[in-house]
C-alpha cells in the first residue's frame, strides 16, 4: 500500500481557522481506518496562502487542499488515503515559486517550519544550468517588467511590498530605489553587496552557489527601475565556487539575451561585472565597498551624501544585499500584496539565518518574519544537543547581541530584535549552551571587530582596542573592580561616536552580555571564577582521594606540575600548573576536579 505524508499548515491564520482541530480529526479518522502505519502527519510554517486556509497537502502527488473543514476529513481519508483518488473539489491550484522547495523537502520536519522565498531554488535546481532556472519561471519576472511595467511601477511595487534591506540595517528597499531613480542619469550603478563577513555566516554564499540567476535577475530589474545600464557584484575572493557559478550564470544569461544590449528584444540594455574583494569585514559597509571598487582603500566615509545621490564614481548608486536582490523576482511575479501578507506589521517576507553553535540541526534556514526565536532554536533547529541547557542565542554576528532565555518568545523582525537588545543583522544566529562562557564569547567577537576595524576613526580604532584589553584581563583573572562600568562607558561612547556601522555596533556583544549576564562578569573579576570552565587561567585543578596512582596525568602534564608515587595519590603543584587541563582529560577515573 502507498505511504502518505500529510502536511498541515500551522501558521497563525490557519490555526485561527481551526487547523489544529482538523489535525485531531485527521488523526482520529486515520486511526479508525487502521492506516496509521502508512500515514505520517507533519506541520509546516505559514505556507503563504492564508486566504485559502486551512491548507492540507497530501504527498506523494502534491495535492494541495484549501478551505478544509472538519467535515472534509472523512472524505480525505476514505477517498485519497484509502482509494488513492485525490479530491478535485478541495484542490486549489495556486502556484507559488517557493512551492517547488516544499514539494521536495516538505515532509522533513526541519524544512517544514520554513518558508523559502529567496532560497526557493537552492537544493532544487542545478545552479550551473540556466535551463533548470528557466524551467521554474526563471527570468519571467524580468520579462514581465520589460513587457508590462514602467520603471515607476516597478519602484512602486517594491515599495508596496514592504521589503527591507536584508544586509542588516533594514532600510526600506523601495525607498532606496525611489531615491536612486529620482537622481539624474544617464550614468548610474547597481551594486550587489556579496561581501559576507560575519564569522559563521554563509547565507549569501549558499544563495549564490545554489541559485545565482535569481540574484542576477533581481539586479537587472533594479537597473531597469532606476535607469541604470551597469551592475557590479562585489564578492569576496575567498568564495571561489560562488564566483565560478556567477561567472557561468552571467555568461549564460548573456548568451540567452537576458544581459547585454536590448534585453529580450526590448530597448533596455544592462550588463553586470564581478569585482572581487580581498575579504575585509569593513567592505560590507556600503561606502567602504564603493571605495574598494574604485580602487581606493576600503574605508567608509561620512554620509550624507548617500550612495543614492553620490556613490560609485560619484554617480547615483543602488546598493542592495544578495538576499534583498533574490526577493525581487518573487515580488514581481507573486505581487506586492502577496509578499506583504507574510511577516509582521513592520517587517515583511522571510529572513534567511545561518544557524550554528550548540544546536542539533546546524544549517541554513529561511523563516517568515514573526517566527519566534524559540521556534527557530527548538523546532527548526531541533534544540540543544547532549541534553545541555540553553543559555543564549546570539543574533547579528559580531554586531549583534546575546539574548538569554527570557527573550525566546521574541518575534523575528527588525524592531522586536532591536527592542530586545540585539539586531537582525545579516542573519548569523549562534546558539550558546551552559558550557559557554559569556565573557569569553564577548571577547571572541570583539577580537574580530577590533582586528577588522579599518582605523579611520578614533573611537573604533582606539576604543575597541581598550575594551579588548579589559576583557582579556578579566578572562585572565586580572580584572579590577570598576572594569564592568568602564566597559559600559567605553562601549556606549564607541557606539555613539564611530563613523560607520562597524564601530557603531562593535560593542554590542559586550554590552548585551553585561546586561544579561552581569553576574558572570562579576564572578570573573571578584571571585576569579569561570562557571563554564572556559577561561583556563581561572581554573584550578585538584586531585581527589579517588586517585589510584596510575600516573596518566603525570605523563601528560607539560609543566611537570604533578608528582606522586605509583599506586599512591598524586598531587598538583599550583605554582607550576599552567591550567592547560591535559590531566583532567587524561584521567580515566574522574579523580581530578576542575573548578
Amino acid at each position: 500500500m502507498e505511504k502518505y505524508v500529510i502536511t498541515l499548515c500551522d501558521g497563525t491564520t490557519c490555526i485561527q481557522k481551526k487547523s489544529r482541530e482538523i489535525r485531531t480529526a485527521l488523526e482520529a479518522e486515520i486511526q479508525k481506518a487502521g492506516i496509521a502505519d502508512r500515514v505520517a502527519i507533519h506541520l509546516s510554517g505559514c505556507l503563504g496562502m492564508c486566504a485559502k486556509g486551512p491548507i492540507v497537502i497530501v504527498n506523494p502527488g502534491y495535492s494541495m487542499y484549501g478551505n478544509v473543514t472538519i467535515n472534509d476529513v472523512p472524505e480525505i481519508v476514505q477517498e485519497h488515503l484509502i482509494k488513492g483518488r485525490p479530491i478535485a473539489r478541495l484542490t486549489i491550484d495556486e502556484d507559488h515559486l517557493y512551492n517547488r522547495f516544499f514539494r521536495v523537502f516538505g515532509d522533513a520536519d526541519f524544512f517544514g517550519k520554513q518558508m523559502r522565498i529567496t532560497l526557493r531554488n537552492c537544493g532544487i535546481i542545478d545552479p550551473e544550468n540556466i535551463d533548470d532556472y528557466l524551467a521554474l519561471r526563471g527570468y519571467e519576472a524580468l520579462a514581465k517588467v520589460l513587457t508590462d511595467m514602467t520603471p515607476q511601477k516597478v519602484v512602486e511595487t517594491v515599495k508596496k511590498s514592504g521589503l527591507r534591506g536584508r544586509g542588516g540595517a533594514g532600510f526600506p528597499t523601495g525607498v532606496k530605489w525611489e531615491l536612486t531613480a529620482k537622481e539624474p542619469g544617464p550614468e548610474k550603478y547597481v551594486i550587489c553587496n556579496a561581501d559576507e563577513g560575519d564569522p559563521g555566516a554563509f547565507m549569501d554564499r549558499s544563495a549564490i552557489e545554489g541559485d545565482p540567476h535569481t540574484v542576477i535577475e533581481g539586479m537587472i530589474i533594479g537597473g531597469f527601475a532606476i535607469g541604470s545600464n551597469k551592475g557590479i557584484i562585489y564578492i569576496r575572493a575567498e568564495y571561489p565556487l560562488a564566483i565560478k557559478r556567477l561567472e557561468k550564470a552571467l555568461a549564460d544569461a548573456r548568451k540567452n539575451g537576458m544581459l547585454g544590449d536590448k534585453i529580450l528584444g526590448s530597448d533596455f540594455s544592462f550588463d553586470i561585472e564581478i569585482r572581487l574583494g580581498a575579504g575585509a569585514f569593513v567592505c560590507g559597509e556600503e561606502t567602504a565597498l564603493i571605495h574598494s571598487i574604485e580602487g581606493a582603500r576600503g574605508m567608509p566615509r561620512p554620509r550624507p551624501p548617500f550612495p543614492a545621490q553620490s556613490g560609485l564614481f560619484n554617480k547615483p548608486t543602488l546598493i542592495n544585499n544578495v538576499e534583498t536582490w533574490a526577493n525581487i523576482p518573487v515580488i514581481i511575479l507573486d505581487g506586492a500584496d502577496w509578499f506583504s501578507s507574510i511577516g509582521t506589521a513592520t517587517s515583511k517576507g522571510t529572513k534567511v539565518f545561518a544557524l550554528a553553535g550548540k544546536i542539533k540541526n546546524t544549517g541554513l534556514v529561511e523563516v517568515p518574519m514573526g517566527t519566534t526565536l524559540r521556534e527557530i532554536v527548538f523546532n527548526v533547529g531541533g534544540g540543544i544537543p547532549n541534553g545541555k541547557k540553553f543559555k543564549a542565542v546570539q543574533t547579528g554576528g559580531p554586531s549583534g547581541g546575546c539574548l538569554p532565555e527570557k527573550y525566546l518568545e521574541t518575534q523575528i523582525d527588525y524592531e522586536s530584535l532591536a527592542a530586545a537588545g540585539s539586531i537582525m543583522g545579516s542573519g548569523g544566529m549562534i546558539v550558546i549552551d551552559e558550557d559557554s562562557c559569556m565573557v569569553n564569547m564577548a571577547r571572541f567577537f570583539l577580537e574580530f571587530t577590533q582586528d577588522e576595524s579599518c582605523g579611520r576613526c578614533t573611537p573604533c580604532r582606539e576604543g575597541t582596542k581598550r575594551m579588548l584589553e579589559i576583557l582579556t584581563r578579566i578572562s585572565e583573572g586580572q580584572g579590577q573592580p570598576g572594569d564592568i562600568e568602564k566597559l559600559e562607558r567605553l562601549g556606549n561612547m564607541i557606539k555613539k561616536s564611530s563613523l560607520c556601522g562597524l564601530g557603531q555596533s562593535a560593542p554590542n556583544p559586550v554590552l548585551s552580555t553585561i546586561k544579561n549576564f552581569r553576574e558572570e562578569y562579576e564572578e570573573h573579576i571578584h571571585q576569579h571564577k569561570c562557571r563554564a570552565g572556559v577561561c583556563t587561567s581561572l581554573l584550578t585543578f585538584e586531585i581527589l582521594d579517588s586517585c589510584v596512582g596510575c600516573g596518566a596525568c603525570k605523563k601528560v602534564c607539560p609543566s611537570e606540575a604533578i608528582s606522586g608515587k605509583r599506586k599512591e595519590k598524586h598531587a598538583i603543584d599550583p605554582q607550576k600548573c599552567i591550567h592547560c587541563g591535559q590531566c583532567f582529560m587524561a584521567c580515566k577515573f574522574g579523580a581530578i576536579r576542575k573548578g
Binding site: 532560497l119 537552492c122 537544493g123 535551463d131 528557466l134 520579462a143 554564499r205 545554489g210 565556487l241
Partner: protein
C-alpha cells in the same frame, strides 16, 4: 515595431529549456541529485558524485537522471543526496560517503529499497 514581447520570448525560451532538460533524460524513472555547494564539497560530495557518474558511464546504472544541486541547508548531514521518483515521496539521504553511494546504487536505485537509517 517589436512583434514578440519579452514575455512571449521568455515563455518560448522556457519551453525550449524544458525540452532540453527532458532530452537529457529528466523523465528517467529515478532522478538523483547530489549536493555540490562549497560546504557539501568540503564534506566529500565530489567523491559521491564520482561514484554515481561512474556507475552511469559504466552502464551498471540505467534509466537514472543525475544532476547537481546547491545547498539545501542541512549542514550537519552533508553530503546530501536526493532520490526522486514521480509519484513517490522524495527520499533524502544524509552523510553520504563513497561506500554509502555504492549501496544506494545497489539497494535503492537498482532494487528499490529505501535505506531508512540514512534518511534525513
Amino acid at each position: 515595431m517589436n512583434m514578440v514581447t519579452p514575455l512571449e520570448l521568455i515563455r518560448k525560451k522556457r519551453a525550449q529549456a524544458v525540452g532540453r532538460i527532458i532530452s537529457s533524460g529528466y523523465l528517467s524513472t529515478k532522478r538523483v541529485y547530489v549536493g555540490m555547494a562549497t560546504c557539501e564539497i568540503a564534506a566529500g560530495s565530489k567523491d559521491v558524485m564520482e561514484v554515481f557518474r561512474e556507475a552511469i558511464a559504466g552502464g551498471t546504472l540505467r534509466d537514472v537522471y543525475l544532476s547537481q544541486k546547491g545547498c539545501a541547508g542541512r549542514c550537519n548531514l552533508e553530503p546530501t543526496v536526493e532520490v526522486i521518483e514521480e509519484g513517490k515521496i522524495p527520499v533524502k539521504y544524509g552523510r553520504v560517503t563513497r561506500e554509502r553511494a555504492r549501496e544506494i546504487i545497489d539497494r535503492h536505485l537498482k532494487k528499490g529499497e529505501i535505506i531508512q537509517e540514512w534518511v534525513i
